[in-house]
């Protein structure tokens, strides 16, 4: 009780009108404030290890929370389906969980409200596989990351997604930071990070000729890497579907029926389903899903981040290092972000970002000139010659942060057949393979209480993606084209992608038919002209293969590209 009094005093000193109470072992905040940053600050003040979590129900004055974005489809396609496990959310964690579940003889399905997987944060991040040097020793983030980090060579080969072990550089602009060398070395040892190396300013300048001349030295951590985050998500999804899992796109959870501490049914825009276990991998909506399941003990406060991608010529100018400036990290410690950096991506581009802005909008994926400039200015600390004209595209994603700023991986507290895989933010992508293993184990253990769960004898961990022909030798390419002439017809000129590869993408186990879905799978539309030349051709291929009229094909979601014909009908 006194613990709550302490928290209450702290909060009321700054926000006298806010009510602080205890609910189900959590600290609950109610009331109204004028400013979102204040609401977040109050929530942060409520974090305390003697309580389970923070229920921040403070309302923002004059703000109406936008309705969840969901498909206009409304039917009974999945109505009445019985499942062993239902996974809510088609991000990297949800898809990885589904794939792990297909190792067993279970009826499993995943629901995703968008028209493809990886449309949320999983498709809108910098793809970095983190080292963990900045993570707190006792956090779940660190524990999961350290287990997952070494797995990527094998995993990327098994599931055929792009990964490179780039190593991570942290640069320092002042010799005073060298004092921290021993501290960082000991932290690295404590966290289980190996191979930390000292890199001289001279060596750094050789590797990156246009690096800030003020850079004195850097630390190099060999365990850093880069993946294609949506490529990895799609790979998991494809493998899950190949092994019998179902993925229901355009399907959004609208409500749940909970009775006597158990979820009985889950309502969606495509019918009511009956799962034995429900897994919450719903990203920015994880607390809302938990609320529906009568098992909420955390609150998501969304935090958006914007990244910019530089043209490939930038690698010649700035080098191919994944690097960030230490000063940035300190500046941003309060914002719970590393301050971003420069990432060398699997596609041979440089990426800069992200920034971190608290927002009440869970789906604020709009880019802004301010965010682009913030990221540019920050990364000019390390690469002073960075220029807006280097940027070829940009995107924004929203982190699903809890106030405790750590993962929530556990069985439900009040609802017995509910599993949380929530609060996933950096290093969520990196940790996903192991989060998935643990969550799948939890679900299987729960099911085993009622009846035996057998292993899927037909489980095949290997998944083959689309072969990228442009990186093959002339002879190998010729061989493939002679077998399938579609491989010789280039559709995306900027990225050199053939008709055959686009058709292969359309034939992957998880079937999509949006232009953006193809873009995520084979990069058609991601080059210099950003789809200017290839979009009409990609549309034609989708139309022919799926036997769909042009005006029924979308760029993404319900966003049709063609609104009608010029002649004839209508």
């Amino acid at each position: 009780m006194s613990k709550l009094k302490k928290i209450t005093r702290k909060i009321k000193r700054k926000y006298p009108k806010i009510e602080v109470s205890e609910k189900d072992g959590c600290v609950r905040l109610c009331g109204e404030l004028n400013n979102w940053d204040d609401i977040v600050a109050a929530g942060q003040m409520a974090v305390n290890q003697d309580f389970i979590g923070v229920l921040n129900d403070i309302k923002l004055k004059d703000f109406v929370e936008p309705k969840i974005k969901q498909s206009i489809i409304n039917d009974k396609k999945y109505d009445g389906r019985n499942l062993d496990v239902l996974v809510i959310g088609g991000g990297v964690v949800g898809c990885a969980i589904l794939r792990e579940l297909t190792r067993y003889d279970l009826k499993v399905a995943l629901v995703e409200k968008e028209s493809d997987v990886a449309c949320g944060a999983s498709g809108r991040n910098d793809g970095a596989i983190h080292v963990g040097i900045d993570l707190h020793g006792k956090s779940k983030k660190l524990a999961y990351l350290m287990r997952a980090n070494p797995l990527y060579e094998k995993l990327s080969e098994e599931l055929d997604f792009k990964f490179i072990r780039t190593g991570q550089y942290i640069a320092f602009s002042s010799w005073k930071f060298l004092i921290g060398y021993l501290l960082l070395k000991s932290r690295a040892k404590h966290n289980g990070i190996h191979g930390m190396k000292f890199i001289s300013g001279k060596k750094l300048k050789e590797l990156s000729p246009n690096i800030n001349p003020k850079t004195k030295f850097a630390f190099y951590y060999p365990s850093g890497g880069s993946v294609c985050p949506y490529g990895m998500t799609i790979a998991y999804a494809d493998n899950a579907v190949s092994n019998g899992g179902e993925i229901w796109l355009d399907t959004c959870v609208t409500d749940m029926n909970v009775k006597d501490g158990k979820i009985v049914s889950v309502k969606t825009n495509r019918g009511e389903v009956y799962p034995k276990v429900v897994i919450n991998a719903a990203g920015v909506y994880a607390d809302k899903i938990a609320e529906m399941a009568n098992d909420r003990f955390y609150t998501i406060h969304p935090r958006r981040g914007t990244n910019s991608i530089l043209d490939k010529a930038s690698v010649e100018r700035y080098g191919n290092l994944s690097i960030s400036m230490y000063g940035n990290a300190k500046k941003n410690a309060k914002l719970h972000t590393k301050g971003g950096g420069v990432v060398y991506t699997v596609d041979g581009n440089l990426l800069i970002g992200p920034d971190a802005v608290e927002t009440p909008n869970r789906e604020e994926i709009f880019t802004t000139a301010d965010s682009i400039n913030t990221v540019l200015n920050r990364q000019q600390d390390i690469l002073p010659k960075l220029n807006g004209s280097d940027i070829i595209t940009y995107f924004t994603g929203v982190r699903a942060s809890t106030y405790e700023e750590d993962f929530v991986i556990q069985m439900g507290r009040k609802t017995e057949n509910f599993v949380h895989a929530a609060g996933i933010q950096s290093p969520g992508l990196s940790a996903a393979p192991v989060i998935a293993q643990d969550v799948a184990d939890l679900a299987v253990k729960y099911l085993q209480n009622s009846s035996p769960v057998t292993e899927n004898q037909n489980f095949n961990p290997k998944r083959k993606g689309v072969t990228e022909l442009r990186s093959l030798s002339l002879n190998k390419r010729d061989e493939l084209i002679k077998k399938n002439p579609d491989y010789g017809e280039i559709v995306c000129r900027c990225e050199e992608i053939s008709k055959g590869e686009i058709i292969d993408a359309l034939n992957l186990p998880l079937k999509v038919d949006t232009v953006d879905g193809i873009k995520r799978r084979v990069r058609a539309g991601m080059g210099r002209c950003q789809g200017g030349f290839c979009q009409p051709r990609v549309l034609k291929i989708i139309s022919e293969l799926r036997n769909k009229e042009y005006c029924k094909i979308a760029k993404k979601g319900d966003g049709k590209i063609i609104l009608g014909k010029t002649k004839g009908e209508e």
């Binding site: 014909k565 010029t566 002649k567 004839g568």
Partner: protein, 113 residues
């Protein structure tokens, strides 16, 4: 006095026409004078567009009027073109619609199918 811009060639001369005396000034050539007088009495335009076909390899074929038509008939011509479906593999210059919208001008193909 009416001011208008000549559209006959890229020079885009700024012309002045005295509606009473029909005197034209500002033109660099005789085509400009002719254009100005026409423009104030019955403006004419050439029209280019497309027309639907039955051919999958060429869903629409580009066409043009083989002369100028009255500006106020453009809408009528477009409405008529909307209803045409070409069923023969035409050559450049082949007539698609003759005397379209009573203009005495034909619409011809500008592409070989």
């Amino acid at each position: 006095m009416k001011e208008l811009i000549c559209i006959v060639c890229p020079n885009s001369c700024v012309l002045s026409v005295d509606e009473k005396t029909k005197a034209v000034s500002g033109n660099k050539c005789s085509r400009g004078e002719k254009f100005a007088l026409e423009e104030i009495s019955h403006p004419m335009r050439s029209l280019t567009s497309t027309v639907a076909t039955v051919f999958a390899d060429c869903p629409v074929i580009s066409v043009k009027t083989d002369g100028e038509i009255p500006k106020e008939k453009i809408l009528a011509v477009m409405q008529k073109l909307k209803t045409i479906i070409v069923e023969k593999r035409l050559k450049i210059g082949d007539i698609v619609v003759s005397n379209i919208a009573d203009t005495n001008i034909n619409v011809v193909a500008t592409k070989n199918i």
